[in-house]
Symmetry: C3
Subunit: 308 residues, 3 copies
Amino acid sequence: MSGIPLVVAEEVAQALAEGRAVVALESNVITHGLPYPDNAATAVEVESAVRKGGAVPATIGVDGGRLLIGMGEADIERFAATPGIPKAGNRDLPVVLARGGLGATTVASSLVAAELAGIPFFASAGIGGVHRGAQATMDVSADLIQFTRSRVAVVCAGAKNILDLGLTLEYLETQGVPLVSYRSDDFPAFYCASSGLRSPHRIDDPDVVARVVEHHWAAGGRGVVVTSPPRPEDAVDPEVAESAVRAALAAAERDGVTGNAITKYLMRAVDEATGGRTSRANMAVLVSTAETGGVLAAAHARHRSALR
Amino acid sequence: MSGIPLVVAEEVAQALAEGRAVVALESNVITHGLPYPDNAATAVEVESAVRKGGAVPATIGVDGGRLLIGMGEADIERFAATPGIPKAGNRDLPVVLARGGLGATTVASSLVAAELAGIPFFASAGIGGVHRGAQATMDVSADLIQFTRSRVAVVCAGAKNILDLGLTLEYLETQGVPLVSYRSDDFPAFYCASSGLRSPHRIDDPDVVARVVEHHWAAGGRGVVVTSPPRPEDAVDPEVAESAVRAALAAAERDGVTGNAITKYLMRAVDEATGGRTSRANMAVLVSTAETGGVLAAAHARHRSALR
Amino acid sequence: MSGIPLVVAEEVAQALAEGRAVVALESNVITHGLPYPDNAATAVEVESAVRKGGAVPATIGVDGGRLLIGMGEADIERFAATPGIPKAGNRDLPVVLARGGLGATTVASSLVAAELAGIPFFASAGIGGVHRGAQATMDVSADLIQFTRSRVAVVCAGAKNILDLGLTLEYLETQGVPLVSYRSDDFPAFYCASSGLRSPHRIDDPDVVARVVEHHWAAGGRGVVVTSPPRPEDAVDPEVAESAVRAALAAAERDGVTGNAITKYLMRAVDEATGGRTSRANMAVLVSTAETGGVLAAAHARHRSALR
Ligand SMILES: [Mn+2]
Ligand SMILES: [Mn+2]
Ligand SMILES: [Mn+2]
């Protein structure tokens, strides 16, 4: 049987071989987030934040039928500057690999790649979730199911408040995905420190987070979601964010925006309504989550080597 | 990689080594069910029922970062008498293990532990299911998904009628979980002999149940749900139970009870409305299901040793 | 541990041993589709179509506690002529095996059998999906979840338009099941060339389909859904089909038809409303999908042997 060819960056390969901490990162945030050249600058900043936390960053992408596990600055520049790179979600990954060319990985497909490469941690500002109105549309992000398959810990600032976060927590509970909140009582809402929903578990000590992850895997479990709230100076007030989302949802309904187009539409509308606050917060959260990912991955690597 | 430390009771270890029948039991029913000392007495009675059926009981719990696989009477006393032991569902299990201290396992987390210990059968009076109104709340018990993961047969008296049992059957069907009813035509409703819903398969012979379980595992399947109705003398009339549930649901809505608190609220309201009938039935069902679990596990152990 | 006894037809065994293409087929279409002897004639025609495509057909069934992997004409005749053969879905399969006697496999249970026998492709005219109104009933076919478990590529003409095809696509997306459409832009609706819903991926080259399948498996994935539309001369106009379905749904509601009985009721009502067009299209689609399954399985077998 064929394996998928992995192009592992030398620094990543060496860290994995030595049991040092590595944090995987998605590339979809580069290609489908900010405009060029801000996207490239932010991606480099996110990688630096992972290093500051104590781990080696490994940005994931697809290139010519191979998976890139760790991008250099040249790769990041290429992904940032090339228009029209297709988004390769978990169900699209084999298609994008088979077709050749570049592909930008999402949370779900980055988890697939991270596990193939043996990377135990992944960081992303926000994960997907259950969409508002999913009771009727059944629109639920593939991220939530991928957490039940990939043996990777996911560090994030929760999920965007354009989603239904209460339903997202119910869905994760049904699927048996452990959810722990690092140094906060509540499930954060991306650029809001709290979604108003209590987290099932607050853990303040990185070593305890590391043990949770190892215990889940030892029990046959797969993904673990670890939330980390935005820094107070970056956070948007939840009421401001919620009322902007409600206005944006009403506008989307008026404009007839539906399906896959709605996320982008809502994000933009919310950003305009908050005078650009949310997009600035967005960038700050990307960076602070990556740093926390580095801190937690480093604690986990220390825990693992102590076990050996 | 670290394994989870298991503390296997000597009697359980010996039975497993000799290929004799073992039935796993949850501890959440001890800590979150009856008040002390009734909970301890019932747990001992449930263990005796498993023995009467022909198997060795293995009550599961968490203690100081280890999984207890089989409790002695001293352990049962400790779990029964200690207030505030946290409930450790499947998603909480790694957290409770990492934090240390005692933890009470639910159906879902007991299945995880049973599989780790190599115990093929588990008995519980009732499993979780799809909550009434889950079309809006997405409140679906993690038990249903854990059945798709743990290679353990689950013997139960169906699910509580405070749930939506029709939707529960649909959910199990979608997930491909085999459901067979031992010596009854209908899916039971915990302390009611029938939920009014036909079971997909009635099987009267324990040896056939044993073969179903082995065939499912040989085909790569995981959990099998085997229902066993309450004894006629213990059963509550379905119409009495249903009208008590409806009244309790109306009261819960009036009192604004929601979320995780609702199950306990409803159980208590239904019990008051039936003059304590349902809590007496509850205890009887715990015991009779455990005995049937013992009978079926014994048949399965005989079937397995005949295959060797 | 016991394995499930497989009775592999000699031609199938030889093809698998030599790395030649094999396509698994369900038997439920024989027992629960057309009346005798049309069902037998069609099953033979479907097998010929697989051969014409370049692969060996392996019709799956249950017989006396064993799985038939490939039926001869005598077996097909027996399944076609015997009344009352039970339908053995994925959750029923271990029960039907344990009880003995004949059993007809569905899409989901045929996938279980195909994987056990090492057959990488399966063809069926239509797969199950999310039922109309499933937001309230939670009626979702077990096929959709089985795709996440069986390492088998499924070639089909989409799903019947009596289902909610938009919700079916959402469900497959959440579950991360790759969906590619062979030589068409849209997700077909069984006997309609288009459901009006865009497919996420159109692929015209059988070799690319083969690579998608191998890449998904190499990444740890399981099922891949490959749609192939009906031939233009066989296709029913989508508007004609949709208005017949709406009339049938209204009639079903008026007649109080619900649950498992509804699919058959709707299919018959739609066929009557279209003057028998849909049942003729049904047979044509069975045959053309099987041939495409043969073509794609053959490309996949060539791809695999080139990798060795
Ligand atoms: Mn979606
Ligand atoms: Mn719940
Ligand atoms: Mn159904």
